[in-house]
Symmetry: D3
Subunit: 318 residues, 6 copies
């Protein structure tokens, strides 16, 4: 049915609860040029300013993703038939230094990029996208779709430039992201002040608060995403706290009144065909997730990102 | 106020937290011809292919259903004034064999059917409806309203015909269900392949995916349910995973992006008057439900099914 | 930026997880006439008829409210710049007598009222608003906005006049509330009978069930709230079970099919400018809240009530 | 094998997880003179001064006691072959008044006593033994074995005479307990002051603190229990907080450094033959017991008390 | 420091929380003759008669065993320097049939045995040792050290020969175990009757109840183990419910008053040098283990078994 | 009864569940020279190498310590009558840098030391004692009693000198601790290698493993503690993982087979009269503590340390 070498564990042969957990039961493999889409964990929470524990995010999502199957129910995309997809393990991190971790992560993604693979990652706190972008967007600014309750455009936090509230600003400053091609969806939550929003407005980031999301409706938001990112290379970053807390209680900084999983799924499915160069889901904290719903939702979003990547891979091959 | 013999515990006399838990505090009784509506537990999880624990479903729902009162807030239906409703205990099952359990369950429901009672059941995994239908639909195919994230129309799983993913197909094959009078609501979730969907299409089952549900809207879905089942005898089966995982994390195979309790309640309330011959709620796993919301929602859905059964009972008596 | 004396802990200096927990990190202070808005805990659960544990409500919300910041994302209201807001601790209660607790609470709020402060309270079960209203509405009946799944207009429960199901009726009888200026939003849940609803209809309380809420839509509900309460003094009481159980599993009597946090937030934000004399959030039970979402949502609603109070304070000062 | 009428559910026929939960799967029956040992729930937490929730104690223990079998592994006692043992349901209580509850409980146990049954009860907070003793020890003072971390000999708490810290003192004052025949085991925990201990010393209660327990060793403690209670009528009350918190985290006032289940079991087993007139296990709070260990241990202690009662019953019959 | 090929992940380079979870961070490998000690998961719970969920045992222990290091603190044994140890994944099982699962498991262990590896396994319910013994003890009866609260010597359960209460009897009947060389430690728990104990006595199994354990003391129990198993081939099976429930709440049938982890560790450490042909830890149910202590303890016991296997391997090589 | 100015909340007036949580309900106060014993939180987890979350330790222990009373049940010490004891809040920390945090903590304790107060602290991970010792032991090396499963004498971890596994070595190197006056109790757990133990042996640290603890018995261990620390100034550091995991599951690196709370309490009580200059309890992780037992035990140990400090204060005053 497919000529792709890497195939996930077949759940009609090996029960879902059996065998070592890999992301979505994908084949485990070392990084080589055979890998088209690399599923990667980035266990880091040293950039978190409130509740820590996102370092267990990759472990939690690997376990929860046992129930992911192989075909997208809305789009029909079957990614494992379209690309070689493998769980290549976790990026190295340093358990005691966010700065060293950022360097180690960047080095790892440089290799992924060199191998020609598109990375779909599970964080880790939302510091994680910065070293990824440094590795895969170093040839010029790319676009960004960001589902998040916070804009992550602060300049610093307590004198620190690298943390989970600053990655967008850093990436714009470093020329990795084109602010005109950034769209942020789900912004809300009580606020410290205006510093982050002013920065976004000044640089031309398209910020869609929950108020605006609700006024526009999902269909118009999807159209707006397409308009903002246009046809260029695009990265997709999901802070799980962009979802409503009832969808994702297991996160560091939950903010009520957010995006529903159904809407997140449909937004992602509507973006088939974008030139995706990578994606991540961050801020999953399993120790705060006794019902497991956060990890389950993250696993399902990982599948959606993987479908987007598989379609983009197919387009590129043509 | 009523001449029905069986009345639930009166919570204005006996506090909700007191006394042995029966379903919705209904009277406990042996099965006799006096019972019009039989509340039944079916503790079984040997048909589950991922996470087990639904064998504790009846115990969990009995405990959670202490807070159910006696009058439907939307329809005004007061079932205990319309029919003799009793918790008749659990169907016998075999803890080590799904096949023997299916036989034991069938035998038990044959007796319920012979006594003239309509069973409203709490599973147990979704193997449970098959032996129920064999007992109560043996005189000819009936209709089915199914709220579920999966169509349960697989032919087999690992060589096994009887499990929680095949009951609809088996029941159609055995002439218990009329596929033209089956409607499935809430289908979604990543998929293995097309086998189940193809079967549904081929036999004429009306499958409403979440995509279609959303496009149609609840009112049109209700109209479509009525159209499909028409005026004939109808069974109602709710796999609790038809609800969104945030409504029902305590289940074996949660699938994000599902039906909200509010919508489930309103669909059920809109079907007053259908010729209901039985109903069930399956796949509740209390050990995966630390907040208790799954059991609470199942208890409330049990009340809705009981209201439908009470109205149907009244219609039949006329 | 502000000349208000009482300022909350600055989370850009003191991390959110640090220091003793006060409501929303507000300044802790003894009650004096300097306090404009008093944040108060009322630890009581002796009025609860099903699941107890609301006595830990204030402790749970203090801890969860560490993540509240200072500016409202929709309205831009920055309450700490507009009024002196302080956590003045808990009202005294008696751990073994609901009657004595009601007296102690009333005495405490008499002092708050005398000091000229508007109280925003965290209960405690829903007996709590009665002694508050006795203290702050003693000069004539006021209006009430009530988000709740139950109308709390029973006459008594097992012979007892003071409990969590009667406060509205008592307050109307005592001339504290004007029934024509009461609006209840979110009513639902299976019912005992008609006693409470009949009382509401007879006295002219505007009861919006979930059925009606859904038919009207949020915007019309907001308009109706404004119409009912008009320009007079108004109290705002939120029983956390007015929210859907997936938003608030940690409560004594959860009722599926309720109000979403997003809608609660937007209703509150739309009422800027009402003449708020106090508000409360009751029935938070931390021991039933393993994900913490109930406490987090209560904390966010407390911020919304505080914003309303700050605007009202500013209007009054002019 | 036995001529006793009431037999528990046979777990080799009906799986442990099946059927409505009764205490230890005992037969459910109305109170009649056929019942020799009455298993009773007393759902009350209005006497608790710290963490509430013991009102769910009977429900929690009924569910957890599904795994109790029929023969004591140490003594070989098989109580169901020796006496008619039935779960007669819960004592009535008032959800809003500890005083009324105390009266209702007393009335219920008067009936049990009149029927000639020995009650083994699951509370409820530790106010519960007082009304029980008023009913079953009204003919003269009896002895008491009390496993507890607190002596419960305070005179009052905040002006209240009836609560979970005073039952022993009240019962002595009322002539229900003979202080010279009271032995308290497991006393510990930081203390308010000396009031309770002074009372115990003054009246001649034998108080064994954990310090003394450790010095004496279990065998000597058992001998001391026998010495103190002698041959007369004896009641046995277990506050589950007498156990170490790792054995019983689900309780209102846990005190580290307590008694192990193994020791509690062996103490109880060593007392075969005492003239037991009743026993209880109090202060089980299921909402604080996520691992379930507290309810499981309480269920096992209930079996031990039932074995003592069965032996005493057999002795009396001779 | 070692010439062994397979080395675990080095936690001083790769943080404990990083990378895909394998048993004790051991190298993952396909089964070949290079593997001396095979770490295996056996995900099965179809043999459980009360609470299911042991199918997730291997997943839970893999995750929890991230904190196992490389040197035994008491004996100094460093197994990875002594033998090639690898996680070879899970034995195949059938999710719907205990009989088919038993066959699949046996086939898998036949291959392990043929490859010359000693298996250390994580179940799965306690049906698991039977197919293992069929594979690795087929050349003659071996000895058994069993830590367990139940003797597992029933003849059948509800007509079923293969389940978690019968493995010892089956294995004796099939000539896989020499009853004279079986020692069972930790027996306790209320009992159904005498069938299992009589069988043990009749066949000469050495049964050490908790009563006898306590009387003998740990040192004498260790001596007795050595005496019973003598110098021959020995298998070691740990039902995690042999531990006290406070050490292992996450299991199907907890029995209070059991063995402490400290004692289990020291018993295992004292058996260095026995001719171990395999070992297992069964009945770990992660869904009932919210604190994680059961999985953590199982992980530590797995390390102890692995140390025994490494010493035995070294002895054999000489 | 006492002339001490700072008194805790009186729980016979203000219920335990009421009011803002401070450590053991102690008076909250700014640091002044009036404070004799300063209760301090140190919210830090950036030095943790496995599971994070100890930054919530102070919040968790403040809440759990509501049940601490005022008199020691074994020694009779009543610390609030002997010294002015206040909760002075949390030491400042930096959420993104362990190095900066160490500096901030040190500065804070310098002020405590200058004010003449003895600090009793709740961490935070076990990096915390180093900056404390730098502040309060800068005049010459002091003794150390350490209850811990790990010796914390590593030289570095992944190139980092300051983390939760190195504080003892750093403090010895810096002349803050006299290795001859260090005693470590409870060492166990699988090991990386010998680096830490060799350091301890070389420098003369008295290391008591669990094996030795068990051989010696508690009384001899207490005697050995007294012998090692002698009469000089002593600091007391408790890593909560020194307790057995069933006493403290809520910690980063649990190691089975550890010290019981009863033993910890009795060791502490036996040390009345030592010249205590400070103490801490570290590594409490509330997010991993669903039963709450870890926080409760930490709260009780805090009381024991406070009693020691109060006695030492009294001795010094004489």
């Amino acid at each position: 049915m497919t000529d792709q070498k890497f195939q996930p564990v077949d759940s009609s042969v090996t029960p879902r609860y059996a065998e070592i957990a890999s992301f979505m039961r994908a084949a485990r493999a070392e990084l080589t040029s055979e890998v088209d889409i690399a599923l990667v964990g980035v266990p880091l929470d040293l950039g978190a300013t409130f509740r820590s524990g996102a370092r267990q995010g990759p472990a939690g999502v690997r376990e929860a993703s046992r129930l992911i199957r192989q075909v997208n129910p809305t789009t029909g995309v079957a990614p494992y038939r379209m690309a070689n997809i493998a769980d290549i393990g976790d990026a190295p991190t340093h358990p005691l230094s966010v700065e060293k971790s950022v360097e180690l992560i960047q080095d790892f993604y440089v290799k992924i990029h060199a191998a020609g693979a598109v990375p779909i990652s599970i964080g880790g706190d939302h510091t994680v996208p910065l070293p990824i972008l440094r590795a895969i967007a170093k040839d010029g600014p790319v676009g960004l779709v960001q589902i998040d309750s916070h804009s992550d455009t602060f300049d610093e936090f307590m004198g620190t430039k690298y943390n989970h509230a600053t990655f967008v600003r850093r990436a714009v400053e470093e020329g990795l992201l084109d602010p005109k091609r950034i769209i942020q969806i789900g912004l809300r939550g009580t606020r410290y002040g205006d510093d982050d929003i002013v920065y976004g407005e000044k640089t031309g980031i398209r910020m869609i608060t929950m108020d605006e999301y609700e006024e526009m409706g999902r269909a118009n938001v999807i159209a707006e995403i397409k308009r903002v990112i246009g046809g260029g290379k695009t990265y997709f970053s999901i802070d799980i706290d962009g979802l409503d807390p009832k969808e994702a209680p297991g996160t560091g900084v939950p903010e009520p009144g957010g995006i529903m999983m159904r809407d997140a799924q449909m937004m992602l499915r509507a973006l088939n065909g974008i030139d995706l160069i990578g994606g991540d889901i961050c801020e999953v904290v399993p120790s705060l997730d006794p019902t497991g719903i956060t990890c389950i939702n993250a696993a399902n979003l990982m599948f959606e990102l993987t479908c987007l990547a598989a379609v983009a891979h197919t387009v590129r091959k043509k």
